[in-house]
Amino acid sequence: MKYFLHNTWKHRAHVLMCIPVILILFFFNYVPMAGLSLAFKRFDYNKGIWGSPFVKFENFKFLMASGKTFTRMTLNTLKYYFIFLILGTSLNIALAIAIDQFVFKRLGKAMQSIMIIPVFISYAAVQFIVYAFLSNNGMVNNVIQFFGGEPIRWYINPKYWTAILTIVKMWNGVGYGSVLFMSVLAGIDQELYEAAKIDGANKRQQIMHITLPSLVPMTTIIILLSVGGIMRSDTGLFYQVTRNSGILYPTTQVIDSYVLNSMLTTSSYGFSAAATFYQSVVGLILILLANYTVRKIEPDNALF
């Protein structure tokens, strides 16, 4: 202990350098964690979070009472989480391998640059682009009509939106996501490939036995990091791209967009408070579980 204090004193300059980040994280991340206690309180704006009266589990009764809404939100959240995780990660890897294997390096680089661009466009702007494609006189309907089909009214048909949001999300994130994997691919020892070639392995075998296994640690970390956010969503996608349209809620409403809506429209937060509490706790439990499992199997790939 004495040694520790001594060491800290010796590094006082470093401690000082850390203080701004420590303070910001404390006030903007840690204090709101305590704000989760709101789930057990009835919020009173005059008394603030800390002074509001405790109501025990009353807020959770709202969740149960709402029955369908709540299950629908949860299921939608999980549905998109799994689609985006599985499809997104596979596409990231596929794209990374494709660019890595591509012999026209210059062209590959140029294409990659273009593929990354969408991630830098905010969803507030993306929604206009989606609208240009899907509105009644949008690009997609123009193409359908060109081939003699009936135009589809996308914005009032919830059944199409799982696919639409998935496409938008992939358009937005796959190019960017592949960069991480490319960096791992660049680090693979080329001699491994040479050796495999000498042993008579073809391209497919090389990918199966050298490339893919080397991507496992990165993939594990990405999955682990994402598990904590299993109940969270990319709010912009669900709030902006759907234009927050009530007709589409059956397939597009997720917990986060519900909470955002309630913050912008209502002043009673009971339901949302309970929902966000549930979001955070489920996330925490899952990430601890996942990390524990990974550590059992392959300690090197665990997060902590």
């Binding site: 800290t8 590094h11 300059a13 470093h14 350098m17 850390c18 701004p20 980040v21 420590i22 910001i24 994280l25 903007f28 991340n29 840690y30 204090v31 709101p32 964690m33 704000g35 989760l36 709101l38 979070i49 800390w50 494709a98 012999v103 294409m111 640059s113 273009i114 593929m115 661009i117 969408p118 830098f120 466009i121 905010s122 969803y123 507030a124 702007a125 206009f128 682009i129 240009a132 494609f133 006189n137 949008g138 690009m139 309907n141 123009n142 960069v179 490319m182 791992v184 640690p217 990165m218 970390i221 904590g228 912009g236 909470v259 955002l260 309630s262 913050m263 966000t276 955070s280 902590f304």
Partner: protein, 312 residues
């Protein structure tokens, strides 16, 4: 020496030329090309629509080959004149201040974390890891920031929450550990430079590539942040661009769907607003600066991600 290098290059060149390019590569090129188009076409549509004549869109729908080109959309956007100007100012302000502030405090933190004999750093590593795994969620944030800190309608809320991120700290720390030689810092210390001088005069200048890449990511996050603005900002003079974009959409939607306006008046309004081209022109003014900045930062950006992703 020089000759050898040239010769070597030539060999590589010849080897590449000799190597037969298989059919698979052409198929790959085709697929990658298709995907590139898939990424590019939506963005292209923004450009084309912004410069299209509104009536041709209204009658024929969106198209990559409009009947008539026009600058009407931009004229309408500049009618917002003042507000657009103010919003540009606000967005540039929060982007610049936030990025510089965030980079500064995060690099200092990363620098301290990279000192191996600093015992406090174990605690600090856990301290920054927890917010990545667990959070109070947006509602708790919102209520704490507005009702406890009384920061509603303050630009601070657009700057501070985005200024620190665990991932960025890890990227910066990894870069310091792997790319800046320990001996360099030690020799600076032996020459009598204090920790602050070592950091600001030796380490910071060497961090340029990683600062560029993290900085660009942060700047786009600030530039694109609409959610905090939508939640916290009320005053028009503090509206950033993204919020203006949302408001324009709401306004147009309101005007076009308002049942209280008589048919004739509605028609007149609709005629007055170049609905399609104006919205896209606005989108273009909002995303334009990022599109322009991107090519300059791209090289650093990919490199930075690469370095940071090595598990440290």
């Amino acid at each position: 020496m020089e000759y050898a290098a040239v010769g070597n290059k030539e060999n590589v060149f010849r080897a590449r030329k000799k190597k037969k390019i298989s059919v698979g590569q052409y198929i790959l090129a085709f697929i990658l090309g298709l995907y590139t188009l898939f990424c590019l076409l939506p963005i292209l549509l923004v450009f084309v629509t912004a410069f299209s004549d509104d009536k041709s869109i209204a009658s024929n729908g969106y198209s990559y080959f409009p009947e008539k080109w026009s600058l009407e959309g931009f004229r309408y956007v500049f009618k917002y004149g003042r507000q657009l100007f103010t919003s540009y100012g606000v967005t540039i302000f929060i982007t610049v201040v936030g990025t510089i502030f965030g980079l500064l405090i995060m690099s200092m933190f990363a620098f301290a974390l990279s000192r191996r004999d600093f015992m406090f750093r174990k605690f600090l590593s856990v301290y920054i890891l927890i917010p990545m795994l667990f959070s109070g969620g947006q509602l708790a944030n919102y209520l704490v920031f507005t009702s406890s800190y009384k920061l509603k309608d303050s630009l601070l809320l657009l700057i501070i929450p985005l200024s620190v991120s665990t991932m960025n700290i890890i990227i910066l720390r990894t870069y310091i550990q792997t790319s800046i030689p320990e001996e360099l810092m030690d020799s600076a210390r032996i020459d009598g430079a204090g920790e602050y001088r070592t950091f600001f005069q030796i380490v910071m200048p060497l961090m340029k590539p990683v600062l560029a890449s993290v900085g660009f990511m942060m700047a786009t996050a600030y530039w694109n942040d609409w959610q905090n603005a939508l939640l916290y900002i009320d005053t028009a003079s503090k509206n950033p661009l993204q919020l203006l974009l949302i408001r324009i959409q709401k306004n147009i939607e309101f005007l076009l769907n308002n049942k209280n306006i008589s048919g004739a008046a509605l028609a007149a309004i609709q005629k007055g607003i170049p609905e399609y081209s104006a919205t896209m022109a606005t989108v273009l003014t909002v995303i334009g600066p990022i599109m322009i900045a991107y090519p300059f930062f791209q090289k650093y950006f990919i490199k930075g991600l690469t370095v940071g992703s090595i598990k440290g």
